[in-house]
């Protein structure tokens, strides 16, 4: 985590991750997102908060929903936006990441929303460019806006975060969603357990303040909510799981699991889903699923993050 972690939202210059982010700032973001969620229900779902602010969405890794969600959030705030995807760009011509981003910054953008396959890229850029940096997912590290939108959804569904029991299910080792959820939830007082094949649970995971559930049934009996992670199919080729079938038999979330647990469990999934692998359609489309609410909340949470970083700057006369 950065040495100079902001303690107050007015000091918030970037959104690099939830690790080390002050709980008060997280709560303020969630509260602000609540206000923006109402805006999204208006006949004209748009506010002028970031008029004149330019945001560049730089996606060095494919993503449809996160990019759309950010673009929508920016437009709802009246920001000017440009988007960039790595395919066919100068990245494939051997230009370095730093040059690419500096070039875009030289076009006078105020903020850079970045998705990149390598952990730490947003941190690397934030030390080298003037624009605000918002992490839209870096490698296997963090995906802070996803973590915040999951927490926002949980708070809305369950009424609280403090003391809430959350099970994170699947490939913890390679999941930025898992990390951001763990950092955010534990900072806000929730209890977190993780569950998955031993090869996909990082060593030392307890050092993040979580426990490991010995199996899925035990975890489900314990939890108030389960966040089901997407299983990247490449894990099989890497020899980390023997087969999808073997994974599904132990860790695929089915209606039978939820019935055995015999309690109301909120079901989240960051998407996109592999139906029939990590989650059955019965569950994904079932009564406890909040998966589509997550998508709606994503726009509001991203509006809140953008507003809190860039809105303050405007008030100070930069915009």
């Amino acid at each position: 985590m950065p040495d100079s972690a902001p303690r107050d939202s007015r000091e918030l210059r970037h959104m690099l991750g939830l690790d080390g982010l002050a709980p008060a700032i997280m709560t303020e973001i969630l509260d602000t997102a609540g206000t923006f969620l109402e805006v999204l229900d208006r006949p004209i779902p748009k506010v002028p908060s970031l008029r004149g602010v330019t945001v560049a969405n730089l996606f060095f890794e494919n993503s449809t929903r996160t990019r759309l969600s950010f673009e929508l959030a920016e437009k709802r705030l009246s920001a000017d936006t440009v988007s960039f995807s790595a395919a066919g760009s100068s990245v494939s011509k051997g230009e370095t990441l730093l040059d690419t981003v500096r070039n875009i910054e030289a076009m006078k953008v105020d903020a850079v929303v970045i998705r990149h396959g390598a952990s730490g890229v947003p941190h690397f850029l934030s030390q080298r460019i003037d624009a605000a940096v918002i992490n839209a997912g870096d490698g296997t590290h963090e995906h802070p806006t996803q973590g915040l939108l999951d927490i926002f959804t949980l708070r809305k569904e369950c009424g609280r975060i403090e003391g809430l029991k959350v099970l994170i299910l699947g490939d913890i080792a390679h999941s930025r969603v898992a990390r951001s959820n763990i950092f955010g939830l534990t900072a806000l007082g929730a209890e977190v357990k993780v569950c998955g094949p031993a090869t996909l649970i990082p060593r030392n995971v307890e050092s993040l303040g979580v426990e490991v559930a010995s199996d899925l049934d035990e975890g489900l009996k314990w939890c108030d909510a389960v966040n089901v992670l997407r299983l990247q199919l490449e894990r099989m080729n890497q020899g980390l799981i023997p087969s999808l079938r073997d994974y599904q038999r132990q860790f695929g979330l089915t209606r039978e699991h939820l019935e055995r647990a015999d309690r109301e469990i909120v079901v989240l999934h960051p998407g996109p889903m592999n139906r029939g692998v990590e989650i059955d359609s019965d569950v994904a489309d079932g009564p406890f699923s909040v998966i589509l609410e997550q998508v709606t909340h994503g726009v509001a949470v991203r509006m809140a993050v953008l507003f809190m970083i860039l809105g303050h700057e405007r008030e100070e006369g930069r915009g």
Binding site: T96, H116, F124, G139, T140, H141, E142, L208
Partner: protein, 433 residues
Amino acid sequence: MSSIKVGLGEADRIVVRGARVFDPQVGLDRVTDILIEDGVISSIGDLSPSQQAQVISGKGWLVVPGLYDMHVHLREPGQEHKETVRTGCAAAMAGGFTGVACMPNTDPPIDSPGVVRFIREQATGLPVEVYPVGCVTKGRAGKTLADMAELAVEGVTAFSDDGAPVATAGLMRRALEYAAKSGAVIVEHAEEPSLTSGGVMHESAASTRFGLPGWPAVGEEICIARDIALAEYTGGRLHIAHVSTAGSVALIREAKRRGIAVTAEVTPHHLTLTCELLSTYDSDYKVNPPLRESRDSEALLEGLLDGTIDAIATDHAPHARDEKEVELISAPFGMLGLETALGVILTKFVQTNRLPLERLIDAMTVQPRRIMGLPPVRIEPGARANLTLIAPNEDWVVDRSQQSSKSINTPFHGWELRGRAKGVILGQQYYLA
């Protein structure tokens, strides 16, 4: 009598006046003068000021046998944009070294007499001796043994595929057997690739937190265990480069206890830095083997004190800024070491009374030369001058923009150190900072 000029120079008669002359090998430790005539120490004792000579005023300084770094990367031939033999030697002189052993992962690699001679020639006229380390395998490709006997004729006394381990147990066995005849040592970069490939930093709570692929301690230890078994089986001489884990220290300690011919080195960075530094994703902290945990650093220091680890070596590994200024996962491994090693060890361990000065001299000149099969360097009349001059109480701040190396990838930028090299004398040649 004239005062000597700063920089590189050459003189028939040099006097180092009034320094503390310290050489535990010959029981020498007193404040006195040294006279060097035609590159040979002609007398040690208080000299009358009438001597016609270039005079170095050594008041408050320490004079010790010339330091030797048995593990550096000079990058020439092939990667001159990172370092050349001459810029690497400049860094060595600035750091107080009169001898360096350069690793063969050049392009072409050091697997033929021509490359050995080429590298040596680049260093002529400098007060630093360069000892090329030969490849274990042809082209460092890990397939067949390099022409080790032919390289030995050129004076090569150590072989390594550094940057990578000797690829298979079978090759390591043959290398140890083949080298044993000439008394050469096999220097091993211990790493089991099937456990470490893709790894960026030490596998630990920190790597889990930072979301970075781990390079686990066991990836080093399993290779050392393999090599120790082979050294025992063949009777060959094995040297473990840049030992980085507590488990490795235990393995080597046990092997030495059983009388196996194994030696080991440790770097200043593994002694002083830990993996939590990667929190900034700064690639200047990315090194192979990776920075470990504080309990590993403690075990390394213990190993250095009890003789399990014989030598301190820097693994000086220059990389150009544009190669390092990229996402961490794509950046090359390696950090500079030559210009900071002495200051870091003095500040962190000698000034704090955790390492006797005598052991520093032993680990930075006596042991590495012994392991490399070179004659000892002593401060005594009749010996060729080979000296390092040190200002042990000088406070300074490491500034990467002031390095003599062609590259600036030091992890110690901004460190406040006490004690630094002031110069070296090798025969008639000298360098003064």
